[in-house]
């Protein structure tokens, strides 16, 4: 701002320089004319003064007709090379004395003349008076000033003018050069600043990319570890589950054997009551007693078994989710229109809301995507529940779907997806800090109170979307709500695919 204004102020203006030069020339012309006039007046004064001196001296010579004396006075004037001719006339118009140089004519008497300029020669007439008495007239004619003298007189001004114009030109040129270098400097500075800004941007971009890469690697690593553990753990769970089932079966079998044995013994006793089978009966009773005791313990055992089965069930569910995050869950993809999917879920979604939370739909997708519809439903439900939990005091949740063509996608971060469908779940909640946003997809990371969240919701979605060749991202700022974006590549295959297991 200040630089540009200074630049404007100092800017070279050729028109101004030309005007200055013209003014200078005019001034020089005026000075020349003035000096010319002055010089002419000076010369006139000088000649007149000389004529006056002669006139004062020569009065007696005129009065008493002493031509020799008059001529003597006049001859003194010959020493002045500037005088061309001189003449002294008396009152009767008689020539008393005078001279003229070679090539000049004698001066005739002209009583009416005071001063005149003829053929560039200055002619001055002064009357010779003694007191009040006029004796005659003295004429002096000045030789024309040699051009060398005139040239010398005006060369000063000419030189000065020339120097001033040269100085002005140099000043202008210097100014121009300065401006040019200044402009180039300014340009370089601007370019440098732009380059610096670009560099800063690139560095930031690089930092973001590195951060994303780091995050992605972390997720990858966590996914592999948790996936591996979950897989093995799942197998172990299966073993446990199988063993437990066999154990229950065997438990029931042993009870039946007891009862069969008891029934058989009692039948024998009934068939032959005479036989003294007291001892056998006692044994049998004791066996029965044991069986009775066992039966009495059965409900208790059943409770334990149920607890064990529940635990196994929950563990299995957990491992399932971990597998999902690690993108190792079996998926059954088919061609799905997300709008239809969301519409089908509508009752379920609205059922999960709290009273002050409103759900809006902005569904505008016509394209198909390839994904496991059940998992997609799970994902959307999960997102809506998360959004609802972010709105304890009520608010809006918006589910948005849009078809994005590849050209438009090229400008966004999803540039490598090409044509895709963009699903967003946005809430008007408190939003997330940068710290939270970065960790949100990590497994077991939750901001919900202890026991409320597993910390596996978003990570499961993350794994699922990535496994389905999509992208998922979070857009959130504290105080500005949160939006989860899911982008699924468009598919042109309308048929339902067979079960596809990815691991």
């Amino acid at each position: 701002m200040s630089i540009s204004s200074a630049h404007r102020m100092l800017a070279f203006r050729p028109r101004l320089a030309v005007v200055a030069a013209v003014l200078f020339l005019l001034a020089a012309g005026a000075a020349t004319a003035f000096q010319y006039r002055n010089a002419r007046n000076d010369r006139l004064r000088q000649v007149r003064a000389q004529a006056s001196v002669v006139a004062a001296s020569v009065t007696a010579a005129i009065a008493f007709n002493d031509r020799a004396a008059a001529q003597e006075y006049v001859n003194a004037l010959k020493l002045n090379p500037g005088l061309d001719a001189a003449a002294v006339y008396d009152q009767q118009g008689r020539h008393v004395a005078g001279f003229h140089r070679d090539g000049g004519a004698p001066i005739p008497n002209d009583p009416t003349l005071a001063s005149a300029s003829r053929d560039g020669k200055l002619l001055v007439a002064v009357s010779a008076r003694q007191g009040a008495m006029r004796m005659g007239t003295v004429y002096l004619r000045a030789a024309p000033i040699p051009w060398t003298v005139t040239a010398a007189r005006f060369s000063g001004i000419a030189l000065l003018t020339l120097m001033a114009i040269i100085f002005l030109s140099l000043l202008g040129l210097g100014q121009r050069a300065l401006m040019r270098s200044h402009a180039s400097l300014l340009r370089q500075t601007t370019e440098l600043a732009e380059a610096n800004a670009r560099l800063g941007e690139e560095m930031e971009q690089r930092l973001r990319t590195e951060e994303a890469l780091h995050q992605s690697r972390k997720m990858e690593a966590v996914g592999q570890i948790s996936g591996g553990i979950a897989h093995d753990f799942n197998n172990l769970l299966m073993v446990l589950k199988g063993s437990l089932a066999l154990f229950v079966k065997r438990l029931q079998q042993s009870d039946e054997a007891f009862e069969q044995l008891d029934a058989a013994a009692r039948a024998q006793i009934a068939a032959d009551p005479a036989r003294d089978m007291q001892a056998t009966r006692d044994v049998l009773d004791s066996v029965l007693e044991i069986a009775e005791q066992r039966r009495a313990r059965r409900p208790q055992l059943d409770r334990y078994l149920t607890a064990a089965e529940d635990g196994i069930e929950r563990a299995a569910s957990l491992t399932q989710r971990l597998l999902s995050f690690a993108r190792r869950q079996p998926l059954t993809p088919s061609s799905v229109n997300l709008d239809e999917l969301v519409r089908k879920m509508q009752p379920l979604l609205e059922h999960s809301l709290t009273p002050l939370v409103y759900l809006r739909y902005e569904l505008a997708s016509r394209w198909l995507v390839l994904c496991d519809p059940n998992q997609m439903e799970n994902a959307i439900l999960n997102l809506v529940i998360n959004a609802r939990d972010a709105l304890p005091d009520g608010g809006d949740i918006t589910i948005r779907t849009t078809d994005v063509v590849a050209d438009a996608a090229a400008e966004s971060e999803a540039s490598d997806l090409g044509d895709h469908v963009w699903l967003a779940v946005a809430d008007t909640g408190a939003g997330m800090s940068e710290e939270i946003r970065r960790k949100a997809f990590e497994p077991f990371y939750t901001t919900k109170p202890m026991g409320k969240g597993t910390g596996l919701g978003l990570s499961t979605i993350h794994g699922y979307v990535l496994q389905s060749n999509g992208q998922v991202s979070i857009d959130s700022e504290p105080g500005h709500g949160t939006t989860i974006h899911i982008r699924m590549p468009r598919t042109h295959v309308a048929a339902t695919a067979d079960t596809e297991t990815l691991s």
Binding site: A60, A63, R67, R129, Q130, A132
Partner: protein
Amino acid sequence: MRLGSHWRRRLTSALTALSLCVAGAAWAQPAPATLEYAIKATYLYKLIPFVEWPPSAFASRSAPFLICVVGDNPFDGYLSQAVAGRRFGTHPFAVRNLRTLEGKPGCRIVFISGLHDARLRQALAAVAGRPVLTVTDSTIDSDAPSVVHFMIEKRHVRFEIDLGAAARNDLKLSSKLLHLAVTVRH
């Protein structure tokens, strides 16, 4: 050099004076004596601006500037013609012929013509010590000189000047006049 130039000047002056005399003959009387006095009348008049009278010389602002001719009047009206209608400052010129200067007639210029010896000396003595320019043309007495004495030199009217007489009469003469005089006595 100065001397040579002086003599050459004298010669040129005489020649031009002669030519003037010849030219003047056209309008003056043909007789040489008359021409001489015509020139002397003009000179007498032309002497005036080269002479400075003391302020006391005039009785009043309008008092006439009296030119007195003592003795024979040789001018035959030339002098009257020369000064007719002219003034010296505020003083009109007047010409008077006098037989004698007795009685203090108040002359500023006294031209004494044709008087000799005792009469001349008497006339000069009558105005001695008074602001009067005395002019003679006949003889000059070195004991009692006039201020200006006309003479004929080489047929040319010239004059001598006596500064002592001028001083006695309280007159100052212009150096220009002295420069043209044939001789200047102190």
